[in-house]
């Protein structure tokens, strides 16, 4: 379980967290997070929505200790993330926007193995995890391929496999559909549904709600760094217009 209590995050005025000021990941010009309390049980499929700059990316980066709260606490399975970063980062797997910029190796298997290798597992365990993670995204047998030769959808799936190789309880995806065409988007979503069915909690950060509410247990919408809407998708969706998020057609 991931739990935030009274989580507040302030950015210094200036460029946002990745320096490009354009992707709404909680830049300094807009509010970051104010007193966010949220509890995400194991196994839940949660869609986290909100307009650009609403603080979505900032919030999820607290889940595994990539950011440090200014006020409040974040715990994973009851342990404050700052007390055990390794535990937080293995329990909460994260797939970032633009996976292209987040791969750390040239070939598929080497990249997926990176996380487990950092944990110091023995070689056989690493290999087993890589195999399982690639199978889960239907990339089995393609470990030797070069990442830059894969399509956008395949790259997204490899990025997911990289997170899965840590055997996380929660899989957090930040705008995974950005830059994907329709078939690739559908394929990635289908894989997420499959993972959820097998017991992984999925936290899907997106501003594009088409098709994602059907598998979701819950919809949380952030506005100006606060939780504006929180509830089962069927009900929560009614309140979307007021917080600047387009309703899915």
């Amino acid at each position: 379980m991931i739990e935030t209590r009274g989580l507040t995050h302030r950015y210094d005025a200036g460029p946002d967290s990745d320096g490009d000021n354009d992707d709404g990941d909680g830049g300094g010009r807009v509010a970051a997070l104010a007193d966010v309390s949220l509890r995400i049980p194991d196994g839940e499929f949660l869609v986290l929505a909100g307009a650009n700059g609403s603080g979505k990316s900032t919030l999820v980066r607290h889940f595994n200790g990539l950011l440090t709260p200014d006020e409040g606490t974040v715990t994973v399975d009851g342990t404050p993330v700052g007390d055990d970063l390794v535990a937080a980062r293995t329990r909460v797997g994260m797939v970032f926007q633009e996976p292209r910029d987040c791969f750390v190796a040239a070939t598929v298997a080497a990249d997926v193995a990176f996380g487990p290798e950092n944990l110091g597992l023995d070689r056989a365990a690493v290999d087993a995890r890589v195999e399982a993670a690639l199978a889960a995204v239907e990339m089995a047998g393609r470990g030797g391929e070069r990442i830059d030769r894969l399509s956008g959808g395949e790259q997204e799936r490899v990025a997911i496999a990289g997170a899965l190789a840590m055997e996380p309880a929660h899989l957090v995806l930040d705008e995974p559909f950005a830059g994907l065409d329709e078939p690739a988007r559908a394929s990635v979503l289908a894989h997420l549904r499959g993972l959820h069915r097998n017991g992984t909690s999925v936290v899907l950060v997106t501003h594009d709600l088409r098709d994602v509410l059907a598998p979701a247990d819950r919809l949380v919408v952030l506005a100006d760094g606060e939780v504006a809407v929180d509830g089962p998708p069927a009900e929560a969706v009614e309140a979307l217009g007021e917080v600047g998020v387009r309703r899915p057609d």
Partner: protein
């Protein structure tokens, strides 16, 4: 870094940031090695490799600038096609251009020292023109000293011949690269942080 589970010793946040930057500048230097321009009049082709060396020193400082170029040389030595014209391999380090390659970590360190001094890093945009130009001139000297000595040694020719073959044709290009580096560092077109 404080946090370890089951003995996992995480690399600290600051080192990770520097490593990411160092690897990116190493890759940029590798990409610059393919980008070929031709000098007017003489038509001597030149690549922008050295510009990558300058920028690594300017943006990463002496320590991580030198580390970045060490990564560049090591990557090329084990087969990343990052040397001039997409070359790679240990043979390049013992080849006619080898001296130049060996010089890069030192040259980036010299640029870093010249721009930042030995202490905390400064914003490169704030560095005075004299400092920038002086640092790059000194680094260029280092590059050519290694480069021509390497050529003379590897190709068994006199230093005079080495200077004539491996240095003189390229010096005008160095001036262009240094000018570009200075202009880029001091322009608003780059968001340095």
């Amino acid at each position: 870094m404080s946090t370890t589970t089951e003995g996992v010793d995480l690399v600290g946040e600051e080192v990770v940031g520097n490593l990411a930057r160092a690897a990116l500048f190493a890759a940029l230097t590798g990409v610059f090695a393919y980008v070929s321009f031709q000098l007017p009049v003489t038509s001597v082709p030149f690549t922008l490799q050295v510009l990558g060396v300058f920028l690594a020193g300017v943006f990463l400082g002496p320590v991580w600038g030198a580390a970045s170029m060490a990564i560049y040389v090591a990557a090329g030595a084990v087969g990343a096609p990052v040397f001039a014209g997409g070359g790679a391999g240990l043979g390049s380090l013992f080849g006619p251009w080898g001296g130049y390659l060996w010089s890069y970590p030192f040259a980036a360190g010299v640029v870093g020292l010249g721009v930042h001094g030995a202490g905390e890093l400064v914003d490169p945009g704030d560095a005075s023109l004299a400092r920038l130009v002086g640092a790059m001139a000194a680094a260029t000297l280092v590059v050519y000293a290694f480069g021509t000595a390497g050529y003379a040694l590897v190709n068994d020719v006199s230093l005079a011949t080495a200077v004539l073959v491996a240095a003189v044709p390229f010096v005008p290009a160095e001036a262009i690269k240094a000018a570009a580096a200075v202009a880029v560092v001091r322009s608003d077109a780059v968001v340095a942080r």
